[in-house]
Every structure is written in C-alpha cells, then in structure tokens.
Amino acid sequence: MSILQVHDVSVDLPTEDGVVHAVQHVSFDVDKGEVFGIVGESGSGKSVLTQAITGLMPGAEVHGTAVFDGVDLLKATPRQLRSMRGNKIGMIFQDPLSSLHPYFTIGSQIVEVIRTHEPKTSRDDAKARAIEMLEMVGIKNADKRFGDYPHQFSGGMRQRVMIAMALVLRPEIIIADEPTTALDVTIQKQVLDVLRDMSDKLGTTVVMISHDLTLLGSFADRAMVMYAGHQLEMGPVSALFSRPAHPYTLGLLHSSPDAENDRKRLTPIEGRMPSLLDIPVGCVFAPRCPNATDRCGLTAPPRRTLSDGVTVSCWRRADPTPAEAKPEIDEFVLQRARDRAEEQAAAKDAAANGTEEWPLDKNAPIALVEDLHLTYNAGTRKAVEVLKGIDLTVNRGDSIGLVGESGCGKTTLARVIAGLLPATSGKVMLLGQDNSTVSRAEWREQRRHVQLVFQDPYGSLNPRRRVGSIIGEPIRIQHHWSGNRLKKRVQELMELVGLNPEHYNRYPGEFSGGQRQRIGIARALALDPELIIFDEPVSALDVSIQAQILNLIQDLQDAFGYTYLFISHDLAVVRHVCSRVVVIENGRIVERGDTERIYDAPQAPFTKRLLAASIRAVPPESQETAHRTLVKEVVA
C-alpha cells in the first residue's frame, strides 16, 4: 500500500537569471514501511523535489499532485502542511551541525517538536519522551546530555540527535536528505544502522536522498534515479544494480571507483549537466549519452514499464552498453611529456657543464619525515597534539595515499611536509633539505618543487581573477615570465588538463566544479613540480565528474612521473590512484604498505574497521530482472 503518491510533479524556481526548471514531470509511489531512495548528482532536483512537496520552498511554483495520508500536499494550506511537518513527516538534513540551532540545547529542540504538535503535553512528560527517544538512537546518559548544546556532540552523535528529533512523534514517513554525506565512513555506517533499526522498530517509511548510488544499494528497497530535474529510471535497487536499464544509471555505476576492485581506468560520463534554465527538446541526457541516436535529441523518450517493476525513460529497448573508456592517455599529454624529458636532458647536460640550475640533491627522497610531532598551542592549557610521531618516506615517483577520518591529522601532515607549517619537533627533509633550517631563498626554491591542489574548487580560486592569471601566477613569481611567453605556457597547461585554451580570459565563476578543479591542477603543474599534494581533490565533486578528474590525475602521473601525496577519506578513491597507502589514526600511522596488500589483508584494527564500513553489499540480480519483459510504454 502506498503512503505517498507523487504524480507528475514539476517545480519551477524563479531566479534573477530566469526560471530554473528544477524538477520536471516526476512521478513515484512510496510504499508503507519501505526505504525509498532518490539518487542524483548535484542539480538533479532531488532535494528540491522533497522540499517542495513538504512546503519548505516558499518561492517555488509546484505543479502536479502529491498525495500523503489522503491529502494532496500541493493543495494543502501552509497551516495544514505545518501540522504535518514534524508530526507525520519527519525530516533529517545533511549537515547535523548547521541543522541544529547552535544556541538552544538539544533537549529543548526536541521538546519543542513535541509541544508544538501536542501542546497539552507537560514539560516533564515531553522531557521524559525526548530522553527516551535519545536513548533509543544510542545517546548514552541521555538524561545528562539533555541539557547539552549541539557543539558539545560529535558529528555522528549530532546526526543521532537529528534522527531522534525527526522520530520523536513517530511520524509515518521520514525524509532523510543526504543524512550521512558530511560524516566519516565509520560513523556513516553507524548512523545508517540507527536509521534502519528505527525504521524497522517503528515501521517508519523512509525516503532517503543521496548522491551515492552504491550507498542506496545496501540501504534502500527501491530507488529513483534523477538527472537535471528528470526522472530517468526507477525500480528495485537490485534491478538498478544488476541490470541498469538507463545509460545514465549504468554510467553512474561505472564511474564510481570501487573499494573492492583493482585499479583500472574509470569510465566517466563525458560532458556536464545541462543548464536547468532551458527545457530540453529531446531526452535530457542525450548530449552525454554514449548510446544516443538522432531521435534522442529530437523527441522526449517514452516512459516504459518493465515486468520486474522498473520504469525507465529511454528510447533504447535493449540494455544500454557502457561507454568506451578512452583507454590511452591523450596524445597531447604524451607529447608534452616527451618534450619535458628532452628539456630535462638538456638541463642535465647544462648541469654537467657546471651551470647547475638548482642546488637540490636529485637523489635524495622527495620527502623524509622522522618522528614528527606537531602540537597546536604548545605549552598552554589549550595544547592539542595533532601529530604524534610520524615517520614517512616519499620517494621519487611514489603515489602515496594518506587515509584517515576527519581530524586525524592527515592534512596537517601534508602541510608540514610542504613546509607551510613548522613542526613542533622531529625532522622533516624536503628534497634533501631540512625544513627547519632552510633559508628564505631556499624556501622560495622549494615552492617550485612542491605544489598543492585543494579540496574546495570554489573557495580556493580567487573569483576576481582571470583563469589565465591564476594558472600563470606561479610562473610569473618564480620565473618572471610575462607577455606571450607566459600566455603560451598557460594555454599549454590548460590543454594539458583538458580545459579549452580559449577560455584563458574567463573568471572562475564561469566554470563548473570539475573544470575548476582542473584549473587548480593546471596551477599546480605550472612549475613542473617534483611533488604534488592533493588534499581531497575530488570530495566536492559529483561521481561522474570525479571519474574524469581521477583519470586526469592518473594520466598525468603515468606520462610525467610526478610524485603524489594523495589525501582522502575515501578508500575507493585512494585504492584507485595510489600505489602505497598510509593509514593514519589520531595523529599516528597505524598501518602502511602496498595498496593491494592493505586492501586485501588489512592488519590494524582501525584499517579493518575503515574497510568494513566502506564495503557496500551490492544486491544480487533477481529472477524477475533476469527475465524481464516490457509491460507498457507511455509516450511522453
């Protein structure tokens, strides 16, 4: 029996640039007691959809019907909606820190839900119920912690508080919008378990929104795949995984790196999501679809229903075939690599003639760290020991993955190695020189050989400077190049990382997230460094774009032989890129070794925990899916 019936819902958001068609003609039913997943990349409309039908998008124009509990939510008055929200419809959001009010105690925030919908409940009763609920979701000493503020809890605990708040009135349905995205892998698993457990115990229906298809694979019963506001495929998750009917679903599965599989080249979905300001003529995915035909670009596809419960919007009747991964590295990249080899040979000859270009020991390890300690606010009461004795050697040509949960010190370690933070004690040698004794000139010289690529492609580029000037700045500073010579080099770099060199004069705001990360990589490559430190370079990117960037990062190393230090919390990504892995827990290295060895036979308990949490059970193919037939076809 379905509890929520959404039929032909469209959401338009008026903005300054025009009307954003965030959701178009989406229909789905959610059955009572099931976990229904909505999956899509950013801009797919998945959050807008759920917020619009629950009345949390005041400016939006919403069409269609969404019947919940016998009431059409889209025709309900704000008052009716309000009486349902929190009471019959619970909600959990992505970031548990910003989603809880920082100035009220968690107890009072939960009590507020109870007393809003059941005003006759006495304060004491409400408090007792809140504490009971907090205990249910696994908050220890709930009666003592009732009066604590959100900042006194860890991320996972905060999300448990959010879950308690959403469930305290036993709603029939809860909408969880990326509830684990902001959390560490091991915490993610705990939170999902709590959510699943609660849903089983209380019989609550869960609508779970996520960008991560594999996460839904182990959590949801059925799921809907959205892309650029359109519903592309919907059905049992086992069918989505074992026999994806839409090329986009297939593309998503193929482009996500996998913690259980060997490193192989990913097949990204080429291109980027279209603007939501225009309504597409044909299929919205056609421009990026490897199976697209002329018809796809001209006429919107029909919605076909298959016998195993899958509905798919696609012209193609046969199963989609995966895109051909470009197996080889781009010729331009290879040519540049050959040129560079020649340049270096020439430089070596010059060095033999006594005109040494830089006074660095070419045979020393790129970085050598011995017994490194780092304490913030050392010597005061607020002292925090971040790194507790790290030993690490980075040799030329290595690609080392630094893996750990947030706050374990992996970024700090990278910054110390790069010479951006002084160590409290211990030895850090970079390119044969001790970081603590380098002179200003040597430090400056070091900058040429160590470059960083940061996580946030939006925050780490100055929005008021042109891309050409951002990429060219290191060259201008170190080599004092200018004019055409600089421009030529910058355009070469842009081509190297897959950017259009003609976009030299554009601003970062005109580029998408993936392209911005390419700009960051081009800037890092500008000086042809020895060591490149990647600090979570793909964490902020969507899956299909992430694959493009990961392939680029790998190609560059294969062609040029750069040395990488690759920081990530994502074991699948690290497995894909790195040949060696260093696992950090709490400022200490708990395990290190070759990637294959660590993933196949982890030794340290922490590594085992990490791996266990990141491995997702993929549902097996069912009989119905294997022998499915076309049931009906509805023309769009």
Partner: protein, 318 residues
C-alpha cells in the same frame, strides 16, 4: 570567566591611563592660556602670575600630570577653572540628563528599528521591505540637527501657533519631580536620537536576519512544523542578538559620552553640553574629566558586551 573579567578591567584601567596622558599632553600643546582666560583681558602681569601659580601651571608638565593622576585615583579630578566647582560634582550633575536622553532613546530605537528590520528581512523585495528601506535611508541621511529642528517645527511650533502645547521645545525636568513631566520634556530629544539610530538598526537587523534565515537550522525549525512567527522570532532573532548587542554596546558607550548636537538643539544641560562649554573656555580639568568619562563608558560597555556574549553564545562557554 572571573579571570577574564579581571583581565579586561585591568586593560580598561590601562586604556584610561593612556587616554589621560594623551589628553593632558594635547591641552598643553594647544594654544591659549587658561590663566589669562580666568584673570581676564585686562588683568596685570602680577595677577596673571598669581593665577598661574594658584592653578599650578607654573610647575613642569610632568609634575602637573603626577599631581593630577594621584588625585584622580582618589576620585578627585580637580576643580573647574571657570566656576570653582569640583569636576566630579560638575559631571555628576550632568549625568542624569545624558542618561535620560540615551536610556529613553535606546528603548525607542530598538522598538522601531529591530521589528522593521525583521519585517524587511522576512519580506525581501516586497513593498514592506522597500518602504522600510526608503525610510531608513531617509533618516540615515538626515543630519541630527536638521531632524531635531524639523521635529521641533512639527511637534512644538505648529501646535503652539494653533494655540496648544503638544510637546515642550526642550529643557530638562528631573525624574524625581515626576515621571510624566520628565518623559514629556524628553519626547522630542528621544525621538530625534531614536529615529536616527533606528534607521541604522533597521539595516543591521535586516542584513543579519537575511543571513540567519538562510541557515540550515531555520529549515530544520520549519521542518519541525513550528509556526512561522516562532521560526522568525525565536529561532531567527535569537541568532542576531550577538551582533545587535555588539553594536548596541558601542553605540551606548559613545552616546553616553555626549550627544552634543541633540543636547544643543533641545537645550539639554548634559555631558555633551558640558564638553562644548569647557572646550570653549579652555577649562582643562573639565575637558579631561569628560574625555575620561567617555573612555570609561566605552570600555565598560565593551566589557559588558563581552560578558553578555558569553551568556548568549553557548559555544563560548567552557
């Protein structure tokens, strides 16, 4: 916490100390001879010398300063050159006027500015927002004396010409002589000051509220099914208090040390008027007293704001 307050207090004393040196030096460098002013244009050199000696002005500057500062620590800020009254007494007699002006105005401007800012922020781009924005722009661009004169014309002169007194044109009636009379006399100065400040607070509240209403926890509050009113006033406004109190502390501090122009327009004998008069007459002890009082108020208000922040923001508590 206590340690923090004590440290801030010590800091305050140091600031006031430095301020006193600065002001002392400033008036030594400044032209004009206070002894001449007191003795009069026609006084003979002997009389002038006598006056100079009486004032202690014949001693070296550092000796004058030492004398001043040792007395100051005992609460004695010297004696006014003009009317031979102790500075402390002089200032204390003016404080009720200034306190009345600022205290009343604060309440009015908060009652006008903050709600208007909230209305603006919750209806951005609508006529309500536009109207509130235009009004605040208007009052921000008014010089205070123009607004004062305008209100005097509108609420005193016009009714007066038509035969009745709506509000008095100024003057101060002590609170002890009756609340109604006191408030009636203060209405025009209060309005003048409050309208100007309300405009600033409307803008501040609007900007802050728009930020806060975009926060995730406001969405959470709505998702809980709380009434919009409660979302805005309980969850939203609560978060703007930190910024509002910071601004309020700074504003009260500086206004207490004298809202000179408004006091002039309405003939109020407050600290501001005292400051003007003492500068005109080179009454050095009074000037130093007034400046130090101002510094004291500002430092104290900042301290108060800091303590308030700890109370308001759980994240600052240990």
């Amino acid at each position: 916490m206590v340690k923090q307050i004590l440290r801030r207090l010590l800091f305050a004393v140091i600031i006031l100390f430095l301020l006193s040196i600065f002001v002392f030096a400033l008036f030594y460098i400044a032209p004009g001879n206070p002894a001449r002013l007191i003795a009069g244009e026609k006084a003979s050199q002997e009389v002038l010398d006598q006056v100079t000696r009486n004032l202690g002005l014949d001693k070296p500057l550092w000796q004058q300063y030492i004398r001043f500062i040792t007395h100051a620590f005992q609460g004695d800020f010297g004696i006014s050159y003009r009317n031979q009254t102790p500075v402390t007494e002089l200032i204390l007699s003016r404080l009720p006027v200034t306190f009345s002006l600022v205290g009343g105005a604060v309440i009015i401007w908060l009652l006008i500015g903050v709600p208007l800012g909230v209305v603006s922020a919750t209806h951005p781009g609508t006529w309500k927002d536009r109207l509130a924005q235009v009004l605040s722009q208007l009052f921000i661009s008014f010089p205070s004396f123009v607004l004062g004169m305008f209100l005097l014309y509108l609420l005193y002169y016009l009714p007066k010409r038509n035969g009745f007194t709506l509000f008095p044109p100024g003057g101060y009636k002590p609170l002890e002589d009756g609340f109604i009379d006191w408030a009636w006399h203060m209405v025009l100065p209060w309005l003048t000051l409050a309208l100007l400040m309300a405009a600033l607070y409307q803008r501040l509240t609007r900007a802050e509220m728009i930020d806060v209403l975009g926060e995730d926890y406001i969405r959470t509050a709505r998702a809980k099914g709380i009434s919009e009113r409660k979302v805005i006033y309980k969850h939203g406004l609560r978060s703007t208090l930190t910024v509002l109190t910071t601004q309020l502390g700074a504003d009260i501090g500086s206004l207490l040390s004298g809202s000179i122009i408004i006091e002039q327009v309405f003939g109020l004998q407050g600290v501001g008027a005292l400051a003007v008069k003492s500068v005109n007459t080179q009454d050095r002890p009074v000037i130093i007293g007034v400046v130090l009082l101002g510094g004291f108020f500002i430092v104290m208000m900042n301290l108060l704001v800091d303590i308030l922040h700890v109370a308001l923001e759980p994240t600052l508590r240990r």
